[in-house]
């Protein structure tokens, strides 16, 4: 899979190929020089993933918008720190977005909310997201296929960590695993996911 692939810019039809010139690394480089038009292109090419990720983690659309906005602000502010030698632009972007989302969900949880059960935490998302899933893009289908190649525990551990924002210790508790084994499952699962999809080479 091409790590630099971009999502279609603002189109409701996920199958439409991205416009040429959407090299995210180049857009980041221009953004770093203050090129707001380039940054707008970057936003258009990535906002569905950034917002969608935030929404899966924080679960509240209003907060997801705030998280996405914070993420894009940091992406704009630190664009010059992106090093193409170290990984793809989309991974760099989503790492920022993910960290913001996890920080939000952990800080938003007061001690009382931390008592919520696993099931309460995993209420179904709103219908818009479900409808979105029905129009699965090629990339989404590819990920789901790759995830199917993981063991149940690996997949659940990764989903709880990545989308649930839980620490690996909490994941172990939620999945009834011995303390310390969740981090191994997460690592093994990510390695298998990486090798199946063919990124991070």
């Amino acid at each position: 899979m091409d790590p630099g692939h971009t999502e279609p810019a603002g189109t409701p039809h996920p199958g439409v190929p991205a416009a040429p010139g959407h090299d995210l690394a180049a857009l980041l480089k221009h953004s770093a020089r203050g090129d707001r038009a380039a940054f707008a292109d970057l936003y258009d090419a990535t906002s569905r993933r950034v917002y969608g990720l935030a929404l899966r983690v924080v679960r509240d659309p209003a907060q997801a918008e705030e998280v996405a906005q914070e993420a894009y602000l940091e992406i704009w502010r630190t664009a010059s720190r992106y090093d193409p030698e170290r990984g793809s632009a989309v991974s760099w972007l989503l790492t920022i977005a993910h960290r913001k989302a996890v920080d939000r969900v952990r800080s938003a949880e007061a001690a009382a909310r931390r008592d919520e059960t696993y099931h309460h935490r995993n209420q179904p998302v709103d219908h818009d997201a479900t409808a979105e899933a029905a129009h699965a893009s090629l990339e989404a289908r590819r990920v789901r296929a790759a995830l199917a190649g993981l063991t149940d525990v690996q997949r659940e551990a990764i989903e709880l960590a990545y989308f649930g924002g839980y620490t690996h210790t909490e994941v172990a508790g939620l999945l009834d695993l011995p303390v310390g084994t969740a981090k191994t499952r997460i690592r093994d699962g990510l390695i298998r996911l990486r090798d199946t999809i063919g990124v991070g080479g």
């Binding site: 707001r36 990545y162 997460i186």
Partner: protein
């Protein structure tokens, strides 16, 4: 179980608690294997977002593009140290004036003659590892000041590390019953307590707290044990707002 490398997967998906994260990031500094692995696992994790993609509300685009108008992108990392020598900037510490600052500095810092060679790495305290991370960070910027008594202080900030370090040379100890207290200034102008300076004439101190957004560092003289807010005009101000 004690193998720190095993944390790489959890780290790649932000599934470490703050203590483990700090431990692993310290490890990452010296382990290229783990750095490469974390990068590749982050690439894998990023593909998960493909399955979660949802069109954001239309208003978000306008808000994002409006917000970036007021924020300047950080300049690229340079290999040479940034020439960020700063003079006292009393504006940021309203209502104190330059005259007050200079007077305060002269009153507080006695003349100290010393033959101590400045060796910031002479101490073997654990805190130095965090300090070295800041000092050697790609995005480290420095602001230095010399004081009337010949002492010198340098603040080094790495926004990527989220930490600031202060290096002092020939600093006189605080007057008896007092401590030098360090402060991180937030973009909103608040002064956050960032720890006390030790009595050593030459010291390397990592400031407490997250410096990733800090617009300045200050030093004040406080009663022994420090204060939650500055109670005196600062004796030194390091302007990091352009860094």
């Amino acid at each position: 179980m004690n193998d720190v490398h095993a944390l790489s997967g959890a780290y790649a998906v932000d599934a470490l608690d703050p203590a483990e994260r700090a431990l692993f990031e310290e490890h990452l500094d010296g382990c290229e294997t783990c750095r490469a692995e974390v990068e590749s696992l982050r690439e894998a994790a990023a593909t998960l977002a493909d399955d979660a993609a949802v069109a954001p509300p239309a208003g978000l685009r306008d808000r994002v593009l409006a917000e970036i108008q007021t924020v300047r992108p950080l300049p690229p990392v340079t290999t040479a140290p940034a020439s960020n020598v700063s003079v006292l900037r009393p504006r940021r510490w309203r209502p104190w004036t330059a005259a007050t600052l200079v007077a305060a500095a002269a009153a507080v810092l006695a003349v100290v003659v010393t033959t101590t060679v400045w060796q910031p790495w002479a101490d073997e305290e654990p805190a130095l590892t965090a300090a070295e991370q800041v000092l050697e960070a790609d995005d480290a910027v420095r602001a230095s000041q010399e004081f009337p008594d010949g002492s010198r202080a340098t603040v080094v900030l790495s926004r990527s590390e989220g930490r600031a370090v202060i290096l002092t040379e020939d600093m006189a100890p605080a007057p008896s019953g007092k401590d030098y207290e360090l402060w991180l200034q937030t973009p909103a102008g608040d002064m956050e307590p960032a720890g006390l300076m030790p009595d050593d004439s030459d010291a390397t101190v990592v400031l407490d707290g997250d410096a990733s957004e800090a617009t300045g560092v200050g030093i004040t003289v406080e009663p022994d044990g420090g204060s939650p807010e500055p109670s005196t005009p600062p004796i030194a101000v390091f302007d990091l707002s352009e860094a």
